[in-house]
Symmetry: C2
């Protein structure tokens, strides 16, 4: 395990905060078991955390057993070996990289309001432009309570845990907060730990000030002001960073400097920066060679991706921002335009059901199923249905599909980055064409090597699919190679180093 | 009739363009009749047009008879006396102000695509933030055709009519284009008439660049580039003017100057400006004294606005951007919070049905009716239903209601200006409180004299209604007086003069 060397001007201690934990404990049949956290961000942060000399990770207790483990350590950070078989380390463990993990438990009803009433529907919808403002949102007593007695106290609880860890390190630490769940944390940490160096990375798009006016000033001003507790507020794209500063200017009336990408507040300078996140290229390629993936490659090659059949692929959560329904509509339109392709092209959709407790998500999943049924019913004379919809989360299957697909579709309404585009690029072996929404962060880096799609234009998406399927081999190969090189150059380590280098230049 | 003196550096000829005509002809029982055009903009422009020495007005033929009248004049401008009894003037008419009106007739199916498929749903929805992007819009073949074979050729037809009029005046004219129907006109007029001085006034909000990305580049770039044919692009608010320039920068990559509020393109300078539109204060006050209004004041005072009953009023088209449903929900919530007010407060809603050929509008009208039914059913023990919903367009009734209401509600999702707020302010006689959305153009001028509402926050709107109803008389009187003075200072004549003065400073 190689160590990350922190630039000398940075504090030695790093305190991470993410909502999701790097490990989750369960109890069944009296036995405690532990599992690594899933998801791109936690995976990336876990890799980084194990390479840091002195790190503490604050995260949410997501199970009763997490709470029990935390309780056994008097609410303090639990030393955990983040190996394939994660476990609590009692005493010294020379073998594994041990990361102290502090689980924060909040009352379930408060957490529900914080997570399922504010963070995921309201903030997510605002930041992805998903509200049709004539009918949604309706902010009534329930939503006000969800904010005042959910988002606010949960943020306070996490801020206090972070501040405890900073103070335990002598007050001088590098604090790295993550994402939209925690817009109120930095302000409170700043109050308790004025000398901390605080950054927050926001992994979803930051829209312009108009979008934030959906919330009343009592909410929106508090959220933005909370973030100004940071030294650096980081995003995946320059557009989001610029939108953040314009929001600060329009909502709080603070004079921002768009050439320096900074704003002065309370005698401090807060900078907005963009660092496009990436993937662990070597790790993913290693996984692509594993038996689990190889086996699935065999399956897919028999049915979906072979000399007789080209395979279009998408891999997404069933999130309305992913634009899955319009993607199928475009596929259907392409088949109508080009009946010669029916039976010769299949669309594999690996979709992980997501946030089904949010009514809009449940409805969206249903509309995905409806659209797939329409297409498959229309082509019922074929040996195989044109769309192969699998509602699963299966990483080896996804990587296998990446490697054998002919076209990868990412047509998101808007997406902070979209790592699927980067992942497929570095493991594909069939000169796949990337069909990529202009509104993804990934488009900033990979757009010139992809077929760009405009996510609301079904006609154009249908044409783009056809263009991708009929692109000459040489052009496909060249584009894929260029895209892969781009990802290799800016991998996850480069993403983290760039942040550290910038933070090292921050005024004390 | 007083004359408007054009600043000496301006061309003598003014060519106006608006979609709606200042007059419409009908034929029934073999008789031709003519009616003045309705709507705030046409009324305002009619007043101005009659005061100009040399003006031509280009507009859409909206009836077969309009086309017949135009045909009788060989498609050239028809001299029309814009009096209360409008009529075609053959020969000289010393008595009335005569305005040459050029009716442009386009094929009905083309006009339908231009108007009911692009202008009103797509552009209106984008500019008012009404799309929930996960499900709308879907741009398919029909929408592409509506643009390519509707919006584009209709804009070309109107541009050619405008250019004809400019050339008839020797090529040197002041061209004043109006609104979102005609984003492609200025570019074409500029090509044919390089020396014309061209302005376009956009009466609806201009959102930031993200909102425009709903359209593919083939549409959005053409629309924005079309507007850059102007010398001045004008809006009601500074926010819209700024958003326009940022859109130019982000979508076309042109370097804009936000301090000069201008952008250089093709060797010309295009400026973005804000001129908040207003009303004819004297004319409205005169109308308020008319018998038609006085009679309706009597009716309203008996039933809705008197010592026993306070009256809340709204006057709107049934447009989703007007936020009518949430307004009723807030009223209901206020009655639940304050049962002592039931029976003592009534809500008069004068709603003009609008654009019912657009499905979203038809659905919105239905949801208005549903919400009103819910409220009135809940309070069925009262002598009078709490909500008096009248689906009418009746200007004397609206003015009567302005004058006797106790609270005027304008809670729009977003609104370019909203003249209802200004109109009520100058004729009210009961010290009415203005409850005004922060997202209206009017809020820029009147916000400090109003109770501000945040249009998505039903809880806050309910509290605001209660605050307005319980405000001490002295405070109400002072606020209303200050608001009225603000409107008096910037009336419709001032709005037009400011534009002319700025245009006179434009480089030739």
């Amino acid at each position: 395990m190689k160590r990350i060397e922190l630039p000398p001007s940075l504090p030695r201690t790093v305190v991470l905060l993410s909502h999701r934990a790097p490990v989750t404990f369960r109890r069944s049949d009296g036995e405690r078991s532990a599992k690594r956290g899933a998801g791109g961000l936690v995976t990336a942060l876990s890799d980084l955390a194990t390479q840091l000399e002195d790190v503490r990770w604050v995260c949410a207790a997501s199970s009763e057993e997490d709470g029990a483990v935390a309780g056994e350590h008097r609410g303090e950070a639990v030393p955990i070996a983040l190996s394939d078989d994660p476990h609590v380390v009692e005493g010294d463990d020379g073998e594994h990289a041990v990361v102290p993990v502090r689980f924060v438990a909040v009352p379930a009803d408060q957490h529900e309001r914080f997570y399922a009433k504010i963070s995921n529907p309201v903030l997510w919808f605002i930041q992805h432009g998903l509200y049709g403002l004539w009918s949604a949102p309706d902010l009534g007593d329930e939503e006000h309570r969800a904010f005042d007695d959910g988002y606010v106290p949960v943020n306070e609880a996490f801020a206090d845990a972070v501040a405890d860890e900073v103070q335990a390190a002598g007050g001088d630490a590098l604090v790295m907060l993550h994402d939209y769940h925690f817009y109120l944390v930095a302000g409170r940490v700043r109050e308790r730990c004025p000398d901390a160096l605080i950054s927050q990375f926001i992994h979803i798009p930051w829209p312009g000030p108009d979008a934030w006016r959906v919330l009343p000033p009592s909410m929106r001003e508090r959220l933005v002001r909370g973030l100004l507790g940071c030294d650096v507020v980081a995003f995946h794209t320059d557009t989001s960073a610029r939108n953040f500063l314009v929001t600060v200017q329009e909502l709080l009336g603070l004079p921002v400097d768009l050439s320096a990408m900074a704003v002065d507040v309370d005698g401090r300078t807060v900078r907005a920066r963009a660092y496009p996140i990436s993937i662990d290229v070597a790790g993913l390629r290693e996984l692509a060679e594993s038996p689990a993936v190889t086996e699935r490659v065999g399956e897919l090659s028999q049915t979906l991706a072979n000399d007789e059949c080209r395979m279009i692929l998408r891999v997404d959560r069933t999130d309305p921002s992913k634009n899955i329904v319009r993607g199928f509509q475009a596929f259907k339109l392409m088949l109508e335009d080009h009946p010669e392709l029916a039976g010769k092209v299949r669309f594999l959709a690996l979709l992980q059901p997501s946030r089904l407790d949010v009514p809009e998500y449940a409805a969206y999943l249903a509309s995905i199923g409806a659209e797939v049924a329409r297409i498959n019913a229309e082509y019922d004379d074929l040996d195989h249905e044109p769309v192969d919809l699998r509602l699963v989360q299966d990483l080896p299957l996804a990587v296998a599909a990446y490697s054998v697909c002919d076209v990868l579709v990412v047509n998101a309404v808007v997406d902070g980055m979209n790592l699927v585009a980067k992942e497929a690029t570095v493991v594909n072996r069939r000169d796949a064409v990337l069909v990529l929404s202009e509104n993804t962060g990934a488009h900033q880096e990979l757009g010139e090597h992809a077929v760009t799609v405009y996510p609301f234009d079904i006609r154009q998406q249908a044409d783009a699919l056809h263009q991708a399927l009929t692109m000459p081999l040489q052009e496909r190969a060249a584009k894929l190679r260029a895209a892969a090189q781009t990802v290799e150059r800016n991998d996850i380590a480069a993403w983290f180093s760039a942040q550290l280098a910038d933070l090292a230049r921050a005024p004390a």
